[in-house]
């Protein structure tokens, strides 16, 4: 399952498996396996397209819960994006924005648009949700 941050949905997609996994399988055949489908690849594809290792979790999962935990624990005085950008491999801006949009739609956070520095705050509902 891959998360498409533009449309906010989880969708099934063909993923090229990463090189570590590929090396693990290399003993037997030149193939890569993704969940249930198998496909044969040439060694050229393996070396040019496949990534070194799997994408870090922060970059491939929906971030709603993470953002909410960050705000609930008070790690981020101003915004989640600031805090998450300190990660070694920070998530994309789009996926953070998507998560914030979802949280706003749900009514878990509210932001102050009046001040130039946008700050995000948990609403009462958000604080209850963070405890779940």
């Amino acid at each position: 399952m891959e998360y498409v941050s533009e449309s906010l949905i989880l969708s099934l997609a063909a993923l090229v498996c990463h090189l570590l996994f590929y090396r693990f399988l290399k003993f037997a055949f030149y193939f890569s396996s993704c969940m249930s489908g198998l496909k044969l690849y040439s060694s050229y594809t393996a070396e040019s397209i496949m990534k070194q290792a799997s994408e870090p979790e922060l970059r491939r999962v929906p971030l709603e819960e993470v953002c909410m935990q960050i705000l609930a624990s008070g790690f981020a005085p101003r915004s989640c994006a600031d805090f998450l950008s300190q990660a070694p491999q920070p998530p994309t801006d789009d996926s953070i924005k998507a998560a914030i949009t979802v949280l706003k739609d749900v009514g878990a956070i509210e932001s102050d648009d009046t001040t130039p520095l946008k700050s995000e705050r948990l609403t009462p509902l958000g604080r209850h949700l963070a405890k779940l």
Binding site: E65, A87, V102, T123, L125, H128, L132
Partner: protein
């Protein structure tokens, strides 16, 4: 509560209980379900929506399976269908595990899925007890067992379908669609500006005529093909629920409409709209009070809202 992001940006979050965090939308549904005192159906529906469908697919005798599964169908809401399945299953499960397994085989239901739903239900109830939304005054205990859930005071509105649908709407928002029926009985459904259709799995798909009050739909799943988008798992929801639990509300005094999230127009007197908006703020204050622990569950406010809906 800990949140650890490792050097490879893997997330480890460790909360006080050993469950993984609940999806925000499901969480909201559960909280409002507890507040509106219809907790049993909401916990069941939330568990069904977050696990596999109990309706298993049978390739060999699909027709028989479909007929058997149809027994549980609720005429007005796909969500209540899940509740019917659960109620029947839990009766069988009370007897013994083997009885439950036989029940599933007889009715072409997935035993694995129902076991999973049972686990999620237990988890949700425990979590809600943990944050103080469920408690049993009569017993004096702060824990509520799965078996007592039907009888506890947080379940007294379970029979009021409108109230259950309102709690669903709070969680599934913004999955709302507007249904219009022309005098010639043509049905068109819009979500924002996009036209959508009923998926054939939905109980409403085969209906030809809708009553005039059935205008707003809440849906859980969308299926997309190149040409059309269809929605499944649907139920009708009261427009007041949209104002109370939906997005930003704008009251237009001269046009006598209330607009939610810039596309849902509901015709009503401006005063009514303003009062409903005030009720919304009161609900927020209630939740705020529950964090501080000062205000106990304000039953007068909740009962008022329930009376409005049903």
């Amino acid at each position: 509560m800990y949140l650890i992001i490792t050097s490879h940006s893997h997330i480890i979050s460790q909360s006080l209980h050993h469950y993984s965090p609940v999806d925000v939308k499901v969480g909201k549904m559960l909280i409002y379900g507890a507040l509106l005192n219809c907790i049993d159906p909401i916990v069941t529906i939330a568990a069904c929506l977050s696990s596999k469908s109990p309706f298993a697919a049978f390739a060999n005798d699909a027709a028989v399976a479909k007929a058997k599964q149809k027994v549980f169908t609720d005429p007005d809401s796909d969500f209540m269908t899940y509740c019917n399945v659960w109620d029947a299953y839990s009766k069988a499960a009370e007897v013994s595990t083997s009885e439950a397994r036989r029940f599933c085989n007889d009715n072409y239901l997935s035993f694995v899925a129902l076991r999973e739903i049972s686990d999620s239900r237990r988890q949700f109830i425990e979590l809600l007890c943990g944050i103080g939304f469920l408690y049993d005054v009569g017993n004096g205990s702060r824990r509520i067992d799965c078996t007592q859930l039907k009888k506890c005071k947080h379940n007294r509105n379970a029979k009021k379908v409108e109230v259950v649908n309102a709690a669903l709407c709070s969680g599934l928002y913004p999955n709302i669609a507007h249904l219009e029926q022309s005098p010639s009985l043509n049905i068109s459904i819009y979500h924002g500006k996009e036209q959508i259709y009923f998926h054939r799995n939905s109980v409403h798909a085969s209906k030809k005529r809708f009553s005039s009050s059935e205008n707003w739909l809440v849906f859980h799943e969308t299926f997309g093909t190149a040409t059309r988008t269809s929605i499944s798992t649907t139920a009708f929801v009261h427009p007041i629920a949209l104002i109370l639990f939906g997005g930003s509300v704008v009251v237009k005094h001269t046009e006598r409409t209330v607009t939610i999230d810039e596309w849902m127009n509901i015709t009503m007197a401006a005063q009514t709209g303003c009062i409903l908006r005030e009720l919304r703020n009161k609900m927020n204050l209630l939740l705020q009070g529950m964090i501080e622990g000062s205000a106990a569950n304000d039953s007068a406010l909740i009962d008022g809202i329930v009376n409005l809906l049903a």
